[in-house]
Structure formats: structure tokens, C-alpha cells
């Protein structure tokens, strides 16, 4: 992955298993979101290929790419909801574009998708009229409108309070369990990683490559890379200020 001559990450090679909740993790600026953009085809890789179910996405033509993309659902860091459309119109859009459902069926499915993310009755609301957590869930409702095989999330918990973040994690897990979808998440939220991830890759900013991959809980305890263990244990313990305060209380 590179922007012009500036290499962001090199020698990336990993598999995302069917039905996995796969986390792309790493410190700020290591290229997590850039990797996701490459996987989504928003940026072309400087070298190498990305394969989905054996189909070479990188070398595919525009029509084949569109066909592959229709099997995906994507939620962006800020939601990516169309502000001039109501939530119902946002969720209905992919169904109108890419399904054979009748308008009345689309309305039923929109109501169901919104109910699924805990937003039943919010059809007529605009994105600007709901909270950040609700916006993320509404974006998820749009992402799952077409019953995707793969769900991509870019920093789903960013900007959410701990309870909203936990609810979103539960929702992602429950959707994956119910539909069998594969989930790819870019995040550095440790509680989310340990709560739902089944597999992960760690991108290192210093060496500009992936330095480990596997189950995050296993990596935390057994990774050969100190930086990975440090990342997954939040620097190896509580923050210095927290420790100092604890000793004051004692």
C-alpha cells in the first residue's frame, strides 16, 4: 500500500475466514483505514492482489467489481448516511438499486432492518436528528439492507460512550451469529476487540508491515512481538496517572 512513492504498508498477506469477526488493529497512523480502503477498492494497491471467495477483486473489471461489492455491507467512521434523506430512504436506497423487491416489500424490510438495530419507528427521522450512537446503528441498518455476506466496519466505536459501544459490539456479534456473515472491523478499541473478535492482524507503523496475526486474546498472552502484547495490554498496565491516584487513595 502506498500513496505515490510513500509506502504505508508492505508484504501484507492474511486470510479472513468465512464467518470470522476479523479485526485490523494497530496504533494510530499505521494504515488500518488505508488497508480497509484497499480492501473496498477505494484505493488500488501498489502491488499484489485482494481475493474474495477466490475471485481476484484487484484485477476484476468494473462490472465484476460491482457484482462482488453487492455482497458487501459497509459502515464508515462517520456513518456516511445521506443527510438529505430520512433513515428509511437511506436504508431503502440499496434495496431500490439492487433488489427485485416491490416498493411495499422494501418498506417492510426497511422497518425490519431499523428494528434490528433498535431504531424501530425512526423511519421519518433525518440523520441530523439522531444521536451519534443511533447514527452508527442506522448506518449498520443500511449496510445490512441487502443481507450481505461480508460486513466492513471502519472504527465503529469511535466517538461512542462505553455503553453505546458495548451495545454496538453486541449487535455486530448477534448479526454475525444470526446471518453467518463475515465481519471485518478496523478498530483500536481493546474492549471491542476482546469482546467480539475471532481473528486479527496487527499492522506496525514502525516497520510498515504486519507483524502478527491470530486470535487477539491469544496474541495478548503469547505473541512473540512485544509491541503487540503491549498494544493489547494498553501499554502493559494502568496509566501512570491512574497508578499514582490509586497509591494516593491507599
Amino acid at each position: 500500500m502506498a500513496y505515490g512513492s510513500f509506502v504505508i504498508q508492505r508484504d501484507l498477506s492474511f486470510d479472513v475466514g468465512c464467518g470470522d469477526i476479523f479485526v485490523i488493529m494497530g496504533g494510530s497512523g499505521c494504515g488500518k483505514s488505508t488497508l480497509l480502503k484497499h480492501m473496498l477498492g477505494l484505493i488500488e494497491p501498489a502491488a499484489g492482489d485482494i481475493l474474495y471467495s477466490g475471485e481476484n477483486f484487484t484485477r476484476a473489471g468494473a462490472q465484476q467489481r460491482d457484482a462482488i461489492r453487492r455482497r458487501w455491507g459497509i459502515t464508515y467512521q462517520t456513518g456516511g448516511m445521506f443527510s438529505a434523506m430520512t433513515l428509511a430512504e437511506n436504508v431503502a436506497l440499496p434495496l431500490q438499486l439492487y433488489s427485485d423487491y416491490r416498493p411495499d416489500e422494501i418498506a417492510d424490510i426497511v422497518a425490519y432492518k431499523l428494528a434490528l438495530v433498535g431504531l424501530a419507528g425512526y423511519q421519518a427521522f433525518y440523520p441530523a436528528e439522531i444521536s451519534g450512537g443511533m447514527l452508527k446503528r442506522a448506518a449498520l441498518a443500511r449496510a445490512i439492507a441487502l443481507d450481505p455476506e461480508i460486513l466492513f466496519f471502519d472504527e465503529p466505536s469511535a466517538g461512542l460512550d462505553p455503553i453505546s459501544s458495548r451495545l454496538l459490539d453486541d449487535l455486530i456479534y448477534e448479526l454475525k451469529e444470526s446471518t453467518g456473515a463475515t465481519v471485518v472491523i478496523v478498530t483500536h478499541e481493546l474492549p471491542s476487540i476482546f469482546a467480539i473478535a475471532t481473528n486479527s492482524v496487527y499492522l506496525d507503523a514502525a516497520s510498515r508491515t504486519m507483524i502478527d496475526c491470530g486470535d487477539p486474546a491469544w496474541l495478548r498472552d503469547h505473541s512473540q512481538q512485544p509491541v503487540v502484547r503491549e498494544f493489547l495490554t494498553r501499554g502493559g498496565g494502568p496509566a501512570k496517572t491512574t497508578a499514582a491516584r490509586s497509591s494516593q487513595h491507599e
Binding site: A84, D108, Y112, Y122, S178
Partner: protein
């Protein structure tokens, strides 16, 4: 089992109990989930307990899940006890997930409708509101200018050169095109009429006075309103969306001093220069047409020289300064008062252009009346 059509069958077991048998493949295009038909059957009976059986189901997707949710909502509203059995595990989990949070009962806030927009009272109220906002904004700008003059302003001048470049040199292409064409149009109009009286040579007077006093500055201002005024509204509107203006305000800095004054000063500097440039090109454009109508270049230049007077030039330049202020005020006011969505930024840009053009025409008429009264 695989021969069963996609759909449902309601079996009445007794007065109170009914069994809903789901069968076949409930997938996109199967037309299996017509809840209206089921609702009609349920309403016609006296069912108080409904069991849903999914044993005969084959593939399923959101079609089934949406149907089950409708069943659940209907039963909840009608006081019918709903139980399920043999549903595919995923469908059962999704139904449980979709019914975890009760539906919101309160409707969304009121929406504007197009009939209300046609109401003249609403239009008048909106116009008054806009006038009030404009006056308040003009007041803020005046205070900021006073602080600038007295050296107390927090105006940021690092961006000034960029604004001048954006409003000036980058606009030269479009100003050149419009000015030459306006000069040519004026010349065509005048030449056709004046030639009937054998006074074709006076087309030079018409073009030079018309361009200097009126068309040069007005067309430049209209172009700048559409180009620079809209850009200002979009820039400040985006800053409003990104909470940059909130950040400036909470730092104790006036957004007007910090963001509006540099833009306004850039336009004040650039507009007279662009007007002079537009005047020159307009006269040249008129000369091209005059040449095509048999007036020699020497005659045209000589006649133009006779017609040119400092008062015509001064009127145009004074107008350019007034117009610069109006364009900047309209653009920046729309941007700073913008909402916080992408649609609101678009609305702000539109409002900036429309308001600026209305201001320009009203101000132009006012200045012309004043000049006529003062015999300038």
C-alpha cells in the same frame, strides 16, 4: 417438503388457537410474505394465541424476517399471544433482536411542506428574518472593522494573500469572457439603432459610458457573487459543520474578525481592479463589433476618448466597492449561519448567491438614483 410453495397457511385449531404454517423458500422475488392477507384473516377471527411453525421452510432471507416482525407487531397490538417453533435458528435470533427495543411512538418533528412555502405571509416572514440577520451581521462587521482600524482586532492576515489570489487572478478568465461579450452585446444593440439615424459612430459613446458606469461593474459583481460569494458561504458553512467556528468562538475570538474581515478586505481590494479590467475588455469587445459595422478603429478610439469622463469611471469604481462589501456580507453571513449538514452547506451557497444578486440590483438602482439626483 421441497415441493411446497413459498407462502403461509393459517390453520384454525379452535376459536382461540391458530397455527401459521410457513413453507417453501422465503427469498427475494418469492412474493411469499403478503402480511396484508394474513392480517385480514386474523382480524376476521377470534384468535388469541398464534403459533408460527417454520418446519417446512427452505431458504430464507430478510423477506421472512420482515414478515415475522410484522406478525410480532400485529400480535402485540392486537393482544394475541405469539409463539414460534421450528424456525431456522438465525431467523429466530433475528426476530428476538428486532423486537428487543420497542418501536418509537413519537413521530419525527414537523416537516416543511411546499404549500407553506407558497404562503405570502411565510415568504414575508422569511424575508424579514433574512433582513434582520443581515442587519445584525452588518453590525458585527462594522464593529469588527472599527476594531481593526483601532488595532484591537484578532483578524488573521496570513490567509489574506490567498483570498486575494482566489478572488482576483483566478477569476480573470471568466471576467474576461463576460466583459468582452457584454461589450459586444451593447455595441450590437446600440449600433443597430444609431445607424438608422446615421449616428453609428456614437456606438463608442454608448459602449464606453454603459460599460464604465453600469455593465462592467455589474457583470463583474454578478460573476463574483456566483463565484467568490458562493465559495465563501461553502467554506464557512463547512467550518460550521466541522465545529471550527465553535472552536474559534470558544477561544474568545470573533468569527467575524477572524474569518469574515480578511475575505471582505480581499474582495474590497480586488473588485475595483477587476472592474477596471472588465471596463477595458468591454470597450475592446464593443470596438470589435463597431469595426465589423464599418467604424474604423481610429474613429472608435477617438470617440471613446471624447466620451470618457472621470465621473463615469468614479461611479463604476464606487459601485465596485459597495458591491464588494455586499457580496462578502451575503456570502459570509450565509456561511456562518449555515446548518451543520452537507445539505445545509449547499443551501448556504445558494442563499449567498441569491441574496448577493438581490443586494446588487437594489444597491445599483439606489446608487443610480443618487447619481442622477446629484447630477454625477
Amino acid at each position: 417438503m421441497s415441493d411446497l410453495p413459498a407462502g403461509f397457511r393459517l390453520v384454525q385449531e379452535n376459536d382461540k388457537d391458530a397455527l401459521l404454517v410457513l413453507s417453501g423458500a422465503w427469498v427475494q422475488g418469492s412474493n411469499a410474505g403478503d402480511f396484508a392477507a394474513l392480517g385480514a384473516q386474523l382480524r376476521a377471527g377470534t384468535v388469541t394465541r398464534l403459533r408460527v411453525d417454520g418446519e417446512a421452510l427452505l431458504q430464507w432471507d430478510s423477506t421472512l424476517a420482515a414478515f415475522l416482525l410484522q406478525c410480532h407487531d400485529y400480535c402485540a397490538a392486537a393482544g394475541i399471544e405469539l409463539t414460534t417453533r421450528n424456525l431456522p435458528p438465525g431467523a429466530a435470533r433475528l426476530l428476538a433482536l428486532a423486537t428487543t427495543v420497542p418501536p418509537r411512538q413519537q413521530a419525527a418533528g414537523p416537516r416543511g411542506n411546499w404549500l407553506a412555502a407558497l404562503n405570502p405571509l411565510n415568504a414575508l416572514r422569511d424575508a424579514l428574518q433574512m433582513l434582520r440577520e443581515s442587519l445584525a451581521f452588518t453590525g458585527e462587521v462594522s464593529i469588527a472593522l472599527a476594531r481593526l482600524v483601532t488595532g484591537k482586532s484578532n483578524t488573521r492576515f496570513q490567509d489574506f494573500r490567498h483570498f486575494v489570489y482566489q478572488a482576483g487572478p483566478q477569476a480573470l478568465g471568466i471576467i474576461s469572457l463576460t466583459s468582452v461579450l457584454v461589450g459586444m452585446i451593447l455595441a450590437y444593440l446600440g449600433a443597430v439603432q444609431l445607424q438608422q439615424f446615421g449616428a453609428g459612430v456614437y456606438v463608442a459613446n454608448l459602449v464606453s459610458i454603459g460599460i464604465l458606469r453600469e455593465m462592467g461593474v455589474l457583470m463583474t459583481a454578478v460573476v463574483m457573487a456566483g463565484r467568490t460569494g458562493a465559495a465563501y458561504a461553502a467554506q464557512l458553512g463547512t467550518m460550521q459543520t466541522n465545529q471550527e467556528i465553535d472552536a474559534i468562538t470558544t477561544m474568545g475570538v470573533s468569527p467575524v474578525e477572524f474569518l469574515v474581515i480578511p475575505r471582505m478586505l480581499a474582495l474590497l481590494l480586488v473588485m475595483p481592479l477587476l472592474t477596471l479590467y472588465a471596463n477595458l475588455l468591454g470597450i475592446v469587445g464593443g470596438g470589435v463589433v463597431a469595426g465589423g459595422m464599418g467604424i474604423s478603429p481610429l474613429q472608435y478610439i477617438s470617440q471613446t476618448e471624447n466620451a470618457l469622463a472621470i465621473n463615469h469611471l468614479a461611479v463604476g469604481l464606487v459601485k465596485s466597492l459597495v458591491f464588494a462589501v455586499l457580496i462578502a456580507v451575503a456570502g459570509c453571513r450565509a456561511g456562518i449561519n449555515s446548518g451543520r449538514s452537507s445539505a445545509a452547506v449547499g443551501d448556504a451557497a445558494t442563499a449567498a448567491v441569491v441574496t448577493a444578486i438581490v443586494y446588487l440590483i437594489v444597491a445599483d438602482a439606489g446608487i443610480n438614483i443618487l447619481c442622477q439626483q446629484l447630477r454625477i
